[in-house]
């Protein structure tokens, strides 16, 4: 799979918890992620939510997404327009949630990119290409790329179950 994305970089500094991304009180109020998107980073970086637009890439300089398991930390960022997050390290659950929902979470040091730079992300080849900088990363395993290509964890699981059901039906017919 050669996923290529044109994105705008957004720099975020410091260790970021999932509480920082979306405060607990909102995630218990809404399942509509567009409502959650208005509140991303509200406590930590007031006003930042309104500045995201479609095809943004977050460049973090420290551990990103530590703490709570809330998948809304990913779904609210996706709803805000973020499609890729590049960080030196991720919180474990947040990292899984990213891939499960089709957000590309990439472990790399991308601090050479400035805020608001337009860059190209080549997921399958493992590089980020700016005007005068290239950052390489280890491409994700095929299994994870396949999951994203299927639309995320749930669609890929359902596809597998339906296939098994069809196969089972098929073999019963033969009998």
């Amino acid at each position: 799979m050669t996923e290529i994305l044109n994105v705008r970089t957004r720099r975020i500094s410091g260790v970021i918890s999932t509480d920082d991304i979306i405060p607990g009180r909102y995630k218990h109020m809404h399942t509509d992620t567009s409502k959650l998107a208005q509140h991303v980073f509200e406590n930590r970086f007031p006003g930042l939510a309104a500045t995201f637009h479609a095809s943004d890439l977050i460049v973090a300089d420290d551990t990103f997404g530590i703490g709570s398991s809330r998948e809304q930390a990913v779904s609210s960022l996706l709803a805000a327009g973020v499609t890729v997050i590049v960080a030196p390290r991720f919180g474990r659950i947040f990292f899984r949630n990213c891939w499960n929902l089709g957000m590309f979470a990439i472990e790399a040091d991308a601090l050479r990119f400035a805020e608001g730079e337009n860059i190209v992300v080549n997921i399958g080849d493992g590089n980020l290409i700016g005007a005068d900088t290239v950052v390489n990363f280890t491409p994700p395993p095929k299994r994870m790329l396949d999951m994203v290509a299927a639309g995320g964890l749930i669609p890929s699981v359902l596809r597998r179950i339906n296939k098994q059901l069809l196969q089972r039906k098929g073999s019963t017919n033969h009998v």
């Binding site: 607990g24 399942t31 406590n43 703490g67 398991s69 395993p141 749930i154």
Partner: protein, 405 residues
């Protein structure tokens, strides 16, 4: 062999696994908390799913919003209840307690099981050597439907705790000290096996405190050694021949406090210089068990909560609450002027009262003090043990080591 490898091997077809490998495992138990079940219900609804792999192996716990604070959350809870009823799974309604505390009491966690929970503090199950994994809504929904999950086999680190702390220093203090000394990076994505004489002598309540904080270390999962009151089937902890062993010496360690806005921002208690506190909260999946309530009751017996302090105590489960009533702790706490709430997550994350006021300084026994955690970003949260919390409630200031001895 590392415990995590052993458990994953036993749940993925029996071929020995190695760190870094991506595998599909069978899951023994899956549980959901009320804050995430509306999202999970939505995933089921959007995808036309109507059933789970095993009704007895799936539970929904109502713990984050026990006393519903607003219309939006009330409506989400209603959806969650309807969802639980449709699926016919195990339900632990408001008042039953915190999922992780109840899961331990009711045997959801047992040695060698794989248990998934939709809350990051599911790692608590490591106290009895379950591979207990906190995960997001999609992972949980997928496991509820299929009884399976994808996992990356983590590397294991062994954490050898040497020496004994001061008697006033509790399990919470030791984990905060480990975090302060070693940081998160050494534990991130990893399985952590605790060892050494101190951890081997811990009560089950204290072991649960240690295990619950695994996610604060950044770990994928944790395992504690066998000890008093543990179920059968616990395995000895022993590092692989070429395994990474980290050592922390806790000889004469004093109590610790994590300052705003990170559990890693830890100082010895004397460095707090008797800081003034407005609000004390005792509760959460880290410190709400009978032993914790007993520590607070013994401190508050015959004393009064300071007039300047709002002191809120939330037992972790119905069982803890009833035992605390039986032992007279709830009378002691109430007499002293503390407010005892029904069991649940309490005020840990701002999804029910008490929300702090602007400028409030809170001393809490919970596990996280991220900015805005309790519902107000204008408040400061300090984390400490129940013993320290109780002393603070009486005097309105964080005690020194000398005050506590």
């Amino acid at each position: 062999m590392a415990l995590v490898n052993d458990i994953i091997t036993a749940h993925s077809g029996g071929e020995p696994v190695t760190a870094g490998q991506l595998v599909t495992v069978n899951v023994d138990k899956v549980y959901v908390q009320d804050g995430n079940s509306p999202t999970i219900a939505k995933i089921f609804g959007d995808n036309g799913c109507e059933s789970v792999f095993d009704k007895d192996a799936v539970g929904i716990f109502f713990d984050h919003s026990v006393i519903t604070p607003n219309i939006a959350i009330a409506n989400r809870l209603k959806e969650a209840h309807a969802f639980a009823e449709r699926l016919g799974v195990q339900v632990y309604p408001q008042g039953a307690g915190i999922s992780h505390v109840v899961a331990m009491e009711n045997g959801w966690f047992s040695p060698g099981r794989i248990v998934m929970g939709s809350d990051s503090h599911t790692c608590t199950g490591g106290a009895v050597q379950s591979l207990a994994l906190g995960m997001g809504a999609s992972d949980i929904a997928a496991a509820m439907i299929t009884g399976e999950a994808w996992l990356k086999v983590p590397e294991t680190v062994w954490l050898n705790i040497k020496g004994k702390p001061l008697p006033i220093t509790k399990a919470k203090d030791v984990v905060l000290y480990v975090l302060a000394t070693l940081g998160q990076e050494k534990f991130l994505y990893r399985s952590v096996e605790w060892m050494g004489p101190w951890v081997s002598e811990l009560s089950l309540d204290s072991a649960a405190t240690v295990a619950s904080l695994g996610v604060e270390l950044g770990a994928k999962c944790v395992f504690l050694p066998d000890g008093p009151g543990r179920p059968h089937g616990m395995r000895p902890i022993s590092p692989d021949a070429n395994g990474t062993v980290l050592e922390v010496d806790i000889t004469d360690l004093p109590p610790m406090v994590a300052k705003p806005h990170s559990p890693s921002n830890v100082v010895p208690i004397d460095e707090m210089n008797h800081a003034k506190i407005d609000y004390v909260f005792v509760g959460s999946c880290t410190n709400s068990r009978l032993e914790d309530i007993a520590d607070v009751a013994h401190q508050l017996a015959g004393k009064k909560v300071s007039d300047r302090v709002h002191c809120l105590i939330t037992p972790g489960s119905k069982d803890v609450y009833l035992k605390a009533i039986e032992k007279g702790y709830i009378s002691t706490l109430t007499e002293a002027g503390a407010v005892v709430t029904p069991p649940g997550c309490g005020s840990c994350l701002g999804t029910q009262g008490s929300i702090p006021a602007d400028g409030d300084r809170i001393l809490s026994t919970m596990n996280r003090n991220f900015l805005g955690r309790m519902g107000n970003p204008e408040a400061e949260i300090y984390l400490a043990s129940p013993l320290v919390a109780a002393h603070t409630a009486v005097h309105g200031r964080i005690p020194s080591v000398e005050d506590l001895l």
